[in-house]
Symmetry: C2
DNA sequence: CTGAAAGCGCTAACAC
DNA sequence: GTGTTAGCGCTTTCAG
């Protein structure tokens, strides 16, 4: 009932191999033959069966995105959503679609002791043509090992270590944080509070470095009492904000390492009767959807997750497929909204 | 190099058919044989190849989620994120994983004139064991036609028309809106503003009906000047809020049909110097991540998207697979946060 | 209860 | 340029 390659070949009066060649842009196809095949494909509304292709050939037309199961489940359970994954998926999906590929998101248990075994089994059962690795797992040596051993091309998003392994797509977190800090300084702020992310995240460390570097470059001192470490959640931001605003000499601005924490600061300020942005400028990092929905809307760094995913996917797809060692930097943008203004 | 079913059979000293039977829980397997096979599978770290399974058998171990391409891309471009998709994926992914299935998200161009052709081709090339349909496309007759013609089981999320086609999972938007309205009334509110969603969405209409029904049941009049239609965006909520709050007799509460619009109302109130929740109670619908990150945090209805997706996925998976006509209702929850309190 | 053989629909060598 | 022929790794008849 469903048309197969044989039906197309029969209708076009050629061999199945010719049909295959036309469909796969193989060499040595006369225009006439191509036209006949294409016409037959059209009439029969034929589409090659993915499984058969994958089974017979080297390509599965499938890209897999490996996502940390625990982190992802925790995000979802807590109702915090998973904006990162959502954006990643858009970028990857759009590129896959253009090229006739499909995307499969796989939850990977990075905590499992049998991770390697499990991963290898997954790779063999799925045979993806390429794998997208998201942080913090872009830096997991076990994953890199398995992928390399299996010969599967992969792109690491925001990787920080072993930079010569696989392909990479990243943004400059350090410079972005420095830019944001410089932006506050240009506005006239001198006492600036900073809420860091967990030190276990490479991106957290980079952002903090950028903040400190920019302050130093402008000859400004970082008051240690104005730097607090949070864990990227709203609550930790609220607590950190409350602590910082409770100090005898208040800062005129607070830079939080991500948007959720910045929103927590906004909440803390409201609770303490500190007007934002009049009495306190607040800025974040990531440009999550909530950032533009807050009052006041948040000045932040737009992390181009979707673009990163799109670039990464293109690296995995032909014709650029699998350029070992290739690294690509994508640009961030400072989004200037209403939560930052000069100190009064 | 990669272990196949032959390797397992050889190691276990049985035929490949027996291995297949054990793996597929087929009938007539002696415990001894099963143990031998399982041991061999373990040692070889064997995992059946998905493509081969799909090609040979009736099952592809694949569930596809059809998502509106245009809507999704628009969400992405606007930076609004796509919380719905993210939650959907969570629910579906978790269930798929338990059952050894894989999830594939496909962007579908519902605006395309060749939609049917394209869909059919997709179904034939992927051969998914089931399809998850998201609104507003759960109600697209062309999609339902293709799916039915192709014999692919499908579940419609939040469908409103042709209720006898396929399987369905839904929540009671009308009752939820009525509950929220009753909640405001119980708090002491009498003049209540309402911001409706676009009339083209079935859910919008239901929510509005629920609001009106609850008001009527409590003998309260709906002031037409206090009901404005938005388009589910923050901006439309802000505009609607500004309009409502600009009226001579202000309401003491505003119920927005989704969270983004409710956040817009919060923003409008702040701009007009109207204190929330002291002078104005605000509530939303959906419980998006932003709802708990706002100041004040938003009272809202938690739409159990993940649970709906999980339930839908279970309906597609064995043993319950494809119970034509089956419909399942999932429960919402009224999340009472700080944006609503009695009128002062 | 278990095994042998026949494909599923395609790609890839290898001929012609 | 184009066609023939083997498989890819599994499930499914159909025998035993």
């Amino acid at each position: 009932m469903t048309a197969t390659i044989y039906d197309v070949a029969a209708l076009a009066g050629v061999s199945i191999k010719s049909v295959s060649r036309v469909l796969n842009r193989g060499p040595n196809v006369s225009p006439k033959l191509q036209a006949k095949v294409l016409a037959a494909v059209e009439t029969l509304d034929y589409r090659p069966n993915l499984s058969a292709r994958s089974l017979a050939g080297a390509s599965s037309y499938l890209i897999a995105a490996f996502v940390d199961a625990e982190l992802t489940l925790e995000h979802w359970r807590s109702g915090r959503g998973n904006d990162y994954l959502s954006r990643l998926e858009y970028g990857a999906l759009v590129e896959c679609r253009k090229a006739g590929y499909h995307l499969m998101v796989e939850l990977v248990d990075y905590g499992s002791p049998s991770l390697e075994t499990w991963l290898l089994a997954l790779l063999r059962s799925l045979k993806p043509d390429g794998v997208l690795l998201t942080p913090p797992n872009s830096d997991d040596p076990r994953v890199l090992d398995v992928l390399e051993r299996n010969g599967t091309p992969f792109v690491r998003l925001g990787a920080e270590i072993d930079l010569d392994r696989g392909m990479r797509v990243f943004m400059d977190d350090r410079q972005a944080a420095a830019d944001m800090t410089a932006h506050l300084i240009a506005l006239g702020h001198r006492r600036i509070g900073f809420i860091a992310g967990p030190g276990s995240y490479a991106a957290s460390r980079k952002r903090r470095e950028g903040f400190e570097a920019a302050m130093a470059r402008h000859g400004l001192e970082v008051d240690p009492g104005l730097v607090v470490e949070g864990d990227f959640t709203f609550d930790s931001g609220r607590r950190a904000g409350t602590a910082i605003l409770g100090r005898p000499e208040r800062p005129t601005a607070i830079f939080a390492s991500n948007d959720d924490m910045a929103l927590g600061v906004l909440n803390a300020a409201a609770a303490l009767g500190v007007a934002t942005p009049a009495a306190l400028a607040v800025c974040g990092f990531d440009d999550t959807p909530s950032a533009m929905l807050s009052t006041p809307p948040l000045t932040t760094i737009r992390q181009p997750v979707a673009e990163m995913a799109a670039a990464a996917t293109r690296l995995l797809l032909p014709p650029s497929a699998g350029q070992q060692g290739h690294a690509e930097r994508v640009d961030y943008a400072l989004i200037d909204r209403l939560s930052t203004r000069p100190p009064s």
